[in-house]
Assembly symmetry: C3
Homo-oligomer: 165 residues x 3
């Protein structure tokens, strides 16, 4: 093996490894949100966001981890926690570009009721991520409930425009 060829081959493999690890790390980040909000753990929920992270949805517009924490600790979310809820994200379409990444996919929220489980919300999501000193964080999440309207469709269309990571 020529030394330069070897260096090139090793560097290419390390880059490919990093891309795979990034995808699994981003899925982990996305999948931590449910356990955080369904146990009412406001600090854990807030820690997923960048300092200037935005959570935008048909329900609210929150800027920064403190606003996220306040929402999770608030009456609406705590009532849901008491009732029993499950925020279940599906495996999204992921795209990683260096220290930025995005994901598009569905989330379903189930709510426990005395009559059984209700599919409370099915939503379209677009996440934007940034990698910093502490690893990947959510820079922006936009969520729109799927109700036939154009907003959720616009988010879902994001999954169709992207190149593979």
């Amino acid at each position: 093996v020529q030394e330069t060829e070897l260096q090139h081959r090793l560097a290419a493999m390390e880059e490919r490894l990093r891309l795979l690890e990034d995808q699994l790390a981003l899925l982990r980040l996305i999948n931590t949100w449910g356990p955080a909000v369904d146990t009412g753990h406001s600090e854990a929920a807030a820690s997923l966001w960048t300092d200037d992270g935005i959570l935008e949805s048909d329900l609210s517009y929150l800027v920064g981890p403190h606003a996220v924490a306040d929402m999770v600790a608030g009456d609406g979310q705590q009532a849901l926690v008491q009732q029993g809820a499950a925020h279940v994200p599906a495996f999204p379409v992921l795209t990683v570009t260096g220290d930025r990444a995005s994901a598009t996919g569905y989330t379903t929220v189930y709510r426990h009721t005395p009559q059984g489980y209700e599919v409370w919300r099915v939503s379209a999501n677009h996440w934007e991520f940034r990698r910093g000193a502490g690893g990947w964080r959510v820079a922006r999440r936009t969520t729109q409930v799927i109700d036939g309207g154009p907003k959720a469709k616009e988010l879902l269309r994001g999954a169709l425009e992207k190149e593979a990571p």
Copy 2:
């Protein structure tokens, strides 16, 4: 390190990397179907299929990307898009063998109604994939609604017969 040993080790690692990348690429392919059909984007939906790809289900039997595009552009699917729907695939059991691959898993379709969300269909799926010049495509997808009958069970049994990739 002996040079032949090094060559062998590098080649083995590249093969393992490729297998991991293939699995994530196949998941991406599967996960793009929902956003395509739920936005009524017939071209994006069709582009997931090989030229001779087959979509077989209890609802239809389609051959080729044009037939898939026609189905997505058709009245039934467009009515579903207007109403608001989410085709959500679960993470399937995947098997990759060179330029062929298969997957077995569940899909849930939620439909928005004036009374809330309805779990419209829960189905068993078996996908077959082929890798070509443009990457992985769906060569065949067989879908059967889960209703206690033998067809869905036959598909699901495919997940139990396969070796790990």
Copy 3:
């Protein structure tokens, strides 16, 4: 490249590859449970467990693959199979540490009825895995239905305490 530096670099990459492969293998193990129980295949369901594996839930406490097989072959599960059911796990938060691993996440069970699909159970799950001669197996799975009570929340909190793999 210095030979020792090269050795170090190759070993580090092999370790990272292994960790990625482990995560996909564990997901495969988790995702095989549904097809096994929804087809009533008691042997396939049992084969996922270690010899001393435990399946603990609000419904039962089973020790060992034989007990798991008996549960799957039993009247309750077989009635569910006849009716049509789908045990769909979401992508969990995974942590791998050498030959041990754990996962925390949601499972939804849909049941087919003459009136359509019922979301029968939404549960929180904590899995513990061990790697043996035959690969990864489930050493313990604890499942609690999400109903607002503390048990499911205690399981979900496990996802918030773990370091990334």
